[in-house]
């Protein structure tokens, strides 16, 4: 399978990428790891005329400690995250989730920026950035802005990023205690349900992916939490649960409660 024709450009700065996005509009797409975009292009689900490869931008694949935060460049691969000592020590839940993505080869190429921008409803990181209250840093023609994870996801494959914006980094607060629980779709390795729980004293923050068109914070669980797994009963309160050939609404709703319970009790 060979994708439709396109022009390929490799940029060396964020400014250059933003200029090209502005110039080509809808016809252009950013290319990072290519592990969501290229399969879609082969299947003609996507036919961009221009691909802007951002992997040559220096500094966009760094992981640094800045005060109370760990700042992750958008071009960091899943493998880089799971092996980083800084991530393992300060945002272990992210390293844990990275290790569940796809397989070795996918983890070696796919990036966190690409995954967040793609916003696949079954992707893993959305649950983690939500539970961590991470911040997505985007740059566009009007400069740089910070988007709270809770304001980032809008729907299936849609985010609040503007057409001329690229994600440059993700800022994570240091997380003392968190864990990610995933129920794998056994062929693709995506999450049928993925739950991230971050503990903060006696309270918890719960991010859920795979259950609805849009990943969400299970606020009903957070409010009902009283130190054990019982609050998991509220995992899909007020949520429109999705249905597909892997899991119908009833099964997926039940699974969400089971996975939230596991994550709360882990």
């Amino acid at each position: 399978m060979i994708p439709a024709k396109f022009e390929y450009m490799k940029v060396s700065s964020v400014g250059e990428a933003v200029d090209l996005l502005e110039k080509h509009g809808f016809d252009a797409k950013i290319l990072s790891g290519g592990h969501s975009l290229l399969p879609a292009m082969k299947l003609r689900l996507n036919r961009p005329e221009v691909l802007i490869d951002i992997t040559g931008i220096s500094g966009m694949d760094s992981i640094t400690e800045q005060g109370d935060e760990i700042v992750i460049g958008a071009n960091c691969t899943h493998s880089q995250l799971l092996r980083s000592e800084l991530v393992q020590k300060q945002v272990n839940i992210l390293a844990q989730a990275a290790d569940t993505v796809g397989d070795v080869q996918v983890r070696n190429k796919g990036t966190i920026g690409g995954s967040l921008a793609h916003a696949d409803p079954s992707a893993d990181y959305p649950a983690v950035v939500l539970a961590c209250d991470a911040v997505i840093v985007a740059e566009g023609k009007n400069g740089s802005r910070e988007i709270a994870a809770t304001d980032f996801f809008e729907g299936i494959f849609t985010t609040t990023l503007n057409d001329d914006e690229i994600i440059t980094a993700i800022r994570f607060p240091k997380i003392a205690k968190g864990n990610y629980q995933k129920f794998y779709q056994s062929a693709s390795r995506f999450a049928v349900v993925g739950v991230a729980v971050v503990r903060d004293g006696d309270s918890v923050k719960v991010g859920v992916t795979g259950v609805s068109d849009t990943p969400y914070r299970a606020t009903a669980v957070e409010e009902a939490y009283a130190g054990n797994g019982d609050a998991a009963e509220h995992a899909v309160d007020d949520i429109e649960v999705m249905s597909d050939h892997f899991a119908d609404v009833e099964y997926r709703s039940h699974l969400a409660k089971v996975m939230v319970k596991r994550a709360l009790e882990a």
Binding site: M1, I2, P3, A4, K5, F6, E7, Y8, K10, L31, G34, H35, L38, P39, K42, L43, L51, D53, T55, S79, R83, G102, D103, V104, Q105, V106, N108, K109, A187, S188, R189
Partner: protein, 154 residues
Amino acid sequence: MKISIRINGKKHTDEVEPRISLTHYLRETLDMTGTHIGCDTSACGACTVTLNGDAVKSCTLLAVQADGAEVTTIEGMAKNGEMHPIQQAFKEKHGLQCGFCTPGMVMVAADILKHTPNPSEEDIRHGLKGNFCRCTGYHNIIKSIQHAAELINK
């Protein structure tokens, strides 16, 4: 677009269309058919090569993305007519039947052993998640990779 890739230690410079995958470039431009195409949709791992030392699925990588990189394919594993220890181990432990998946298995094994020189069975199974074999049932592939670790660490 003009690209230049060092493959198995030798530099190749060619004019390619941006939409051509690294697999197609290897197989059709360079006639290096050791890298197989199974699914062509990043599921089966038959097309695995290493890119700057990391295992990747070459069907999901444009040749232009590999411009300037160092690529190793199955043809680059043997040195001076001697099989690589991973190949030797697959031979000794019967890690293949039809052999279709084998180039990808050997290349991903190189990545697994680079990061876990003494892998447990579970480490190996976790590492093989992206590689399908339709013949062996995986048991002998796992034994082969364990044996390869012994040969390399000897």
